[in-house]
Each structure stands twice: as C-alpha cells, then as structure tokens.
C-alpha cells in the first residue's frame, strides 16, 4: 500500500468535486472546495515523506539525522494560507449573493441563469 496517501488524495479530490457539483447551498459548495484543497496537502506531505525520517526540527536531535523534506512542508503552509484567503473571499461573496437574491441555492440564482 505504498501509494495509499496518493490514492486517498485522489479520492478526496473527486469526492470534493462531487460536493461542489451536487451542492444545493453555496456555503456547502465552498466547504466542498476545502475538501478538494485538502487533497493537495496530502499529496505534498506524501511526496516529501522519507521512510524512518524525523520532522525537520533539529532542536534536540543531531543535525545529521535523516529528516523528511522541509520544502514540501513549507509549500503546505503556503497552501493553507491560500485556502484560508480563498474561503474567506468566497464566503463573503455568498453573503453578497444572499443579500442580492435572497437565496443561497445556486439553482435559484435567477440573474445568473437568464
């Protein structure tokens, strides 16, 4: 099962997309998008992992220890920040949509359909 983290990431990606497509509430659409994004964390952390390696913190272990890749971990940090900003902006747009159309059901946003 050496590919398990990547298989889980693929599953999260597709199930998140299903959530986006099937959602009847814009808030749920946004939350589904977070599921899609969380698959990227799994991919990045999975890529950077090395067998029998320690976390890249050398405060109390020798600097010559076998360490997992810190670069992918930094990329995950960036990823989390981007996710937070994207979600905040999307939720603000949902609030605006609710003000304008009085609904958060994507199928009922008339102005978008006409």
């Amino acid at each position: 099962m050496a590919f398990a983290p990547f298989a889980a990431a693929a599953w999260l990606f597709v199930i998140g997309l299903y959530g986006v497509v099937s959602s009847q509430n814009l808030v749920r659409t946004v939350l589904s998008l977070t599921v899609v994004q969380s698959s990227t964390y799994l991919v990045l952390l999975g890529v950077g992992y090395r067998h029998a390696a320690k976390a890249p913190i050398v405060a109390d272990i020798p600097t010559t220890s076998r360490l997992v890749d810190p670069v992918t971990q930094v990329l995950v940090l960036t990823d989390v920040v981007i996710e937070a900003t994207v979600i905040a902006l999307l939720l603000a747009l949902v609030v605006q949509a609710h003000k304008r159309f009085g609904t958060v059901d994507p199928a009922k946003l008339r102005a978008l359909r006409d």
Binding site: A7, L17, I57, A92
Partner: protein, 252 residues
C-alpha cells in the same frame, strides 16, 4: 442544466477522472523514498548557516523570505477584498450595534462555557506569543501564531459578549494591526538591502543555536507575520459577525 443532468454528467466525468488518477498512481516513485536535492541541502546547510533549529521556519523566513512576502500580501489583499465586499451596503459610519442585539447573541452561553472561555483567553494568548517568538527553534512561526492569537479575542465572543469583543478589538485597531504587520515585514526586508547585500537578506547577528534570540532576523519576521495574520483573521471574523448583526437587526 437540471440537477439530475448535472449529476449524470459529473458521474461520467468524475469516474473518468478518478480512473485516470488511479492509473497514474502506478507510475509514481515509491512512497517514503523522496530524493529532493533542495530539501536535503536545506536540511544540511540551514542549521549552520542561520543557527535555526526549525528548518521549516528557516525556509519560510530566510530562504523563501521573498515568497513569504508575497504570501503575506495575498492574505492582506484578500482580507481587504472581504472587507470591501461586506461593507458594500453598510454605512460608512461604524456605529456600535444596539444593546438588545448584543443581549440575544449567544444568550444561550452557559456559565460553564463562559468560564471555559475565560480560562482559554490567557492560554491562547500565551501560546500565540510563544509560537511567534520560538518560530526559529521549535514548530511554530508567525502564521500559526497569528491564528492562535486571533482565537483569543474570539473566545470573548464565545463568552457571549460581541460588544466586549468589539471593545477589545475595535475595527481601527484590527485594521492597523493588519497593516502594521504587513509593513513591518517589508521594512525588515529593507534592512537587508541597506546592511547586507540583498532585499530580505539576513543582517542581524545569528546568536547561539537553540537560544531565544537566534536565527538572525527570523524572530522579527515571525513577529511581523504574526501581527499581520492576527489582524487579518480578526478583521475577517468581525466583518462576518457585523453582517450577522445587521441581519439580526433586520437592516438587510
């Protein structure tokens, strides 16, 4: 397109995508056998080069300091966007919400929840400060610290007092925190331009590995980012909570 049609289309496209992804798993190098030269090099060099013991923070605030600048301004821009979007219909004047509204917000907060929030506040704030200061030593750094610090005032809300939250973290202070944090990070970078060779290059003494004041400018960067993230998250939350209050007052 009808909901049924949309789901049918996704059923075909989604299962195709999943199949392609699963087939793609076969060609991958085995899990746990990563040989990224860059990461290995950073692992070996950074503890000696910058006296930092948390290599992730060393990457974030030293080697990738310029990317972190961009990251910080992405956060800044998006929070500005949230504020612009949500203030669209609100009066320019920031009048405090009426008393009655505050009373019915979280009125169901039990005494146990209030007590827990009160206990949480000092814990969250001290954990946040610890994370910001020890970023170069142990897991932590500005981004994590900012989120934890911003959760402190949020615990006041849990205690059922939105107006108290607004007193502790008024709009102008939160906005100033956000701006000052972003500016401070950019300004620290200028120090590198003046005292060292390049923008965001380290120009401070490195200190002793494992001590609080080590890692050159990393603790400063970490504090600056911590301030910015605290401000950004508090601003986002108060904007959304203000919307909630406006809805509760029947103004929207």
């Amino acid at each position: 397109m009808s909901r049924r049609g949309r789901l049918l289309l996704f059923g075909c496209a989604g299962s195709g995508l999943l199949a392609v992804l699963v087939i793609g798993l076969h060609g991958l190098p085995p899990f746990g056998d990563f040989h990224g030269a860059y990461g290995l090099l950073v692992d070996r060099l950074e503890p000696g080069r910058r006296h930092a013991t948390d290599i992730v923070t060393a990457l974030n605030f030293d080697l990738r300091a310029f990317d972190t600048l961009g990251e910080e301004f992405i956060l800044f821009a998006s929070v500005t966007g949230v504020a612009l979007l949500l203030r669209h219909l609100r009066d320019e004047e920031d009048e405090p919400p009426r008393r009655s509204v505050d009373d019915h917000r979280f009125a169901g907060a039990s005494d146990a929840l209030r007590l827990l929030s009160l206990i949480l506040i000092p814990l969250l704030v001290s954990l946040g400060v610890y994370l910001a200061l020890h970023g170069a030593l142990t897991p932590g750094g500005g981004f994590q610290a900012g989120v934890v610090l911003a959760a402190g005032p949020l615990a006041i809300l849990l205690a059922g007092r939105y107006l108290a939250l607004k007193r502790v973290a008024p709009h102008w202070a939160v906005e100033a925190l956000d701006g000052i944090g972003a500016l401070a990070y950019a300004a620290i970078g200028l120090g590198g331009l003046i005292f060292a060779s390049a923008y965001l290059e380290n120009f401070l003494p490195l200190g002793t590995s494992g001590h609080l004041l080590s890692g050159g400018m990393m603790p400063l960067n970490s504090i600056a980012v911590g301030l910015e993230v605290t401000g950004a998250f508090l601003l986002t939350w108060t904007e959304f909570l203000d919307q909630d209050l406006l809805v509760a007052r029947g103004e929207l």
